[in-house]
Symmetry: C2
Subunit: 313 residues, 2 copies
DNA sequence: CGCATTATGCTGATCATGAGCATAACTGGG
DNA sequence: CCCAGTTATGCTCATGATCAGCATAATGCG
């Protein structure tokens, strides 16, 4: 084997598989929810996409719908072990319909992503932990900053990320929020390198390496994407009611939507069509069942469609 | 050196450096404009971003403003030479202010990106080559497709990508257009692998490997980004007139904008402030000079600002 | 001084969005 | 059988953003 590169470079794929079941946005995890699934960099397939798809379908048994590359991490300090060995992690986001059986024998599990980011779920209003725990500690962190320009910069970042001082909560800033908490030393991942002291950490389950950061990146991407491209479709069963569709979007966005406006938007876009059937399983008046319009499935909304992310009921 | 991975994996960084000079969007190229600059995967820096920044600044002498990861390519057929050697190319987009001297001694040059994508420049109306050359050949390509569902799919993709049948031209679909032309065998990169026959190719300079694809990805990203984040700032000098700013946006977007609406949008967002000076170099009535508001430079527009991409004058 | 040129202010039409009222159609309990 | 509770669905109104122009203000130039 020729020694072309100075260091040993290894590459792996990290898969962020997302599904929505029981109105919860879920990610596929391994080892009792502590880790995202990752696999070797297969050379038997033509492209990374194909490699990922083959690997995921073999591992989980789920067909993989939409996929998208997320981010490539290659920072030196990713692995604490060996400085000369470099790990390149190429992460992908994948959407799938079924999140039933856990797949293969490994201890895989679909976990709600709000388990790792409890402050991101605003469906029942602002999570109390933000005002009680996060904001005070971030304020303490900014106040402790000596240089005034840096302090002001941090103040502003905190205000924007968490919607302080009259600014609105922006559900897309998942990564910025995580990075702030990381910088402020409020998540366990940030201090694991220095010492083992995990007191004063925020709720929200940590993950090793960059995995929680990858998850944050994926959530942010997905939350942005549902507004201008009909990717929710990839997560829905063949037929569904409009409220079910709305609940799925709400699960992803972490926000409640205005019902009537949601329907208006959906049908103004001609994204769906009635199947002709209705279901009475919803409780009240029977709801019409819809399916996605096949030709829409292809490319449609690149021209610019939006899903409304609005205020609570 | 331990033989951990089966194949030899090599990694490189590819830099897509963008500047706007003389109302042209330009990219830094090497070898007489035939190639994007790429460098080794440096292990001496902490992160990929830092690695890229150091390398670019050393190579070109330009300070690097905003940077963003674009895409990671690792397809087997990237390099035709050796199947066992795998090349991972991590590409970055970087914005810089100055595109004056070419930098170091290598034959680097700033080339208008429309040299590689002549069909993307709509500032003087629709490029004639679209109706004359591109659309007919794409139609021939779709017509030659045997299976009806595949044919219809391709028809629809062509219509969306090139704004046919009443659909609007969407300037963000740079990559989709390039990929269509690639699939249809209308760009030299597509057939280089099979034979050397380059007759019937479209105008627009090709690049080896994925370089033109990377450029397309970067243009698309930038065109999308200027609408909701004030990245144009990174490309402008310290002070400028509103028309200069508009021209820069038009260069990137490849479209003309409505002047009055552009100014209204800019100042409704409070992105800029007057310097107090005026310039008479613009021809008619002297124009006020503006600078970007420093605090805006930080993070401001994440909350959602937009640059208008509108119709011709 | 009049003309060409660019800068800049302002207005009306149109469209998207946010919020809510009102009604329809079912279920289950008295 | 009627009533309360629940969800589905149609429609309106206010507001704000965007599109497309008209009108006026300052310059330089012949």
């Amino acid at each position: 084997m020729p020694a072309v590169s100075v260091d040993t470079i290894e590459a792996e794929l990290i898969a962020l598989l997302v599904a929505v079941t029981d109105n919860e946005p879920r990610v596929l995890t391994i080892r009792d929810g502590s880790l995202l699934p990752s696999g070797p960099f297969e050379t038997t397939h033509r492209s990374l996409q194909a490699s990922l798809r083959a690997w995921v379908e073999q591992q989980t048994g789920h067909p993989l719908g939409y996929t998208e590359q997320l981010y490539t991490f290659a920072d030196r300090d990713r692995s604490t072990e060996d400085a000369a060995r470099r790990f390149i992690s190429i992460s992908y986001l994948g959407l799938t319909r079924q999140a039933g059986a856990s797949g293969c024998g490994h201890d895989t599990a679909w976990r709600s992503w709000y388990r790792y980011f409890p402050w991101e779920d605003w469906r029942d209003g602002a999570p109390p932990m933000i005002a009680k725990a996060i904001v005070p500690r971030l304020r303490a962190w900014t106040s402790a900053t000596v240089e005034p320009p840096r302090r002001r910069e941090r103040q502003q970042r905190v205000q924007i990320a968490f919607g302080l001082r009259g600014l609105p909560w922006n559900e897309e800033l998942v990564l910025q929020r995580y990075e702030l908490l990381f910088e402020a030393g409020l998540v366990p991942e940030a201090i694991r390198r220095s010492n083992g002291d995990e007191t004063g950490m925020l709720p929200g389950e940590p993950m090793p390496h960059d995995h929680r950061r990858i998850l944050a990146t994926g959530i942010a991407r997905l939350r942005a994407k549902i507004k201008y491209r009909p990717v929710v479709f990839e997560l829905m069963p063949a037929s569904f009611t409009l409220l079910q569709l709305q609940r799925a979007v709400e699960a992803l966005a972490g926000q409640r939507l205005h019902k009537q406006n949601f329907r208006r938007l959906i049908d103004s876009q001609a994204l769906v069509e009635e199947t002709g059937d209705v279901t009475t399983e919803t409780g009240g008046r029977p709801a019409k069942l819809f399916r996605f319009r096949p030709q829409v499935l292809l490319e449609r909304a690149v021209a610019g469609s939006k899903l409304p992310v609005a205020r609570p009921d």
